[in-house]
């Protein structure tokens, strides 16, 4: 029972995290490789505030969102200058820069040792001790995040962003400021990622720089691609599927040191197969050169 609750919590975390990446990647087609940094910033903010300063849940969340919002300004600055693979490369450099800071700024982040024994939050004077209580807290939040995403995916916002991805000049000609929409989607995706990061820190109760490595980015890209880029429900289902899939591996009679690499190969080949099939069936546009 406890195991299933654990899986449900992971599904909540990863579905809202992947959905927040889908908000930018799916709508505007820009692959933001620094998305894991928003998540990491949220997680670190919450970990530091709740472990060392005993802040309440509400203030931790607000601070994480604020930091995520500030970080989105950097990404917006990059995106206003660069597009496509240059944007991905620049955001990758930004995220690696941040991970070097996480490792080396020992006074705040405790370096490679990470921050251990992060206390679970206290809500309405009720201490959250077991997984069931934690699920009761995280489920409403991830429903809110997914709900906001659903609203954003099904109205004018999504249509304008998709139009920006296809042809920016036409959007300008129709009297819409593309920068506003781009900024809004970057801001939302970064804030959602930071919020999920805060819950991740509370749930796992131990974070170090290696928990925000590149393989996490690959996981959310896989979820996005498998669920259909820019498709809301597909991403939710793909997140459930990909969180549950590696759990099957634990039933196999394998040495535990093999599970990590096999999971990596599994994600990589799934990603490639889906990409190859989707390009074969021509559901993606030709590159405009």
């Amino acid at each position: 029972m406890n195991y299933w609750l654990h899986l449900l919590i992971l599904v909540c975390i990863y579905s809202s995290f992947a959905q927040s990446h889908n908000l930018l990647f799916g709508l505007t087609g820009q692959l933001n490789l620094a998305h894991i940094s928003s998540f990491a910033l949220g997680a670190y903010t919450t970990a530091i505030l709740s472990t060392y300063h005993n802040n309440s849940m509400f203030s931790c969340l607000v601070a994480s969102m604020f930091i995520g919002g500030i970080f989105s300004l950097f990404i917006f600055f990059i995106s206003s200058r660069l597009h496509d693979d240059r944007f991905s490369l620049a955001t990758l450099a930004l995220s690696l820069l941040l991970s070097v800071i996480f490792i080396n700024y020992r006074e705040v982040t405790n370096g490679v040792f990470g921050i251990a024994s992060i206390p679970r939050p206290v809500v309405f004077n009720i201490e959250i001790l077991n997984n069931l209580n934690f699920l009761c807290i995280i489920a409403p939040f991830s429903f809110i995040i997914l709900g906001i995403n659903y609203v954003l995916f099904s109205n004018r916002f999504a249509r304008v962003n998709k139009a920006i991805a296809e042809n920016c000049e036409v959007v300008l000609g129709l009297g819409v400021n593309p920068k506003q929409y781009l900024f809004a989607s970057i801001l939302c995706s970064s804030i959602f990622a930071a919020t999920t990061g805060a819950f991740y820190a509370w749930y796992v109760s131990y974070i170090d720089p290696s928990s925000f490595s590149f393989s996490e980015t690959v996981l959310i890209i896989t979820i996005n691609v498998l669920g259909g880029i820019g498709f809301f429900w597909g991403n939710v289902i793909a997140a459930i599927f990909l969180v549950l899939l590696p759990e099957l591996l634990t039933f196999l009679p394998l040495d535990s040191s093999y599970i990590g690499p096999i999971r990596q190969i599994l994600y990589g080949s799934l990603l490639f197969i889906v990409i190859a099939l989707s390009s074969r069936f021509n559901s993606v546009k030709l590159r405009a050169v």
Partner: protein, 290 residues
Amino acid sequence: LELLLQLFANGIISGSCYALVAAGLALSYALLKVLNFAHGHLIMVSAYTFYYFFSVLNYPIFLSIAITLFISILLGFIALFIFIKPFLNLNSYLPLVATISLSVIVEGIISLLFGVDTKSIIISRKYHNIGPIIVSSLQISIVIYTIISFALLGYLIKYTAFGRSIKCLRENRYSALSLGINERLIILFVFFISILVSSLGGVLISAETNLSPYMANTYTIKAFACMIIGGIGNLWGTIYAGIFLGILENISLGIDFKGYHLTSAYKDVFAYILILLTLILTGNKQLRKV
């Protein structure tokens, strides 16, 4: 000053490693216009193959280099035909995501086969004193190999019909095609050369430093950094940028800012900062000079 000289020499050595890795990437980027995210991983595969044949099976050194080259070229063509070619003219994130998936798969397979712990290749090395600087024979061979391979590359690109057709394809694809240049053959051959240069470089690097499944991303990023600083698609700029990056990283260890030393943990920061700065300053302009 002796420390600075030593660091300068180290910088040239690691810089030539970066230049070797980046030259292959720049060559393939100039024609394919695809950020090959798995480039460092191809190099890692060649390094591990060399490790397996040379250190585990105790084959003679030239035989193991030959086997390594064969396997890495085979893998390179698999990468080209399965992971890069089908996505060439599609939306720009697709080839990027495809090569990311290749890199993840390769990293998984390598850590499955060899384990995640670091390995090192033991080669007998002599140390020479050149003035105040101490270098090993391996490091000298790295620099010599770099100079030779760049001289050959330069000759190939500047003085042969093949090099001129590469330039032509890079400048204007349609007129090159209408002049009867066989694009497929050229792409194949350029990829072959880039794999050859980089995988030999990978063997030397792996002998110089340690091997681990996670080393590949660092080399990919450093190679991207060199390529971007040097001007995208510009071979010579890439090579100079590689050597510049190596010297910068090593010299920064020796300079103290009012008693505050940069530790080696901050070494990688230069590559990231240079990528960010160059990209942001140049914007979306296409830097495709030859």
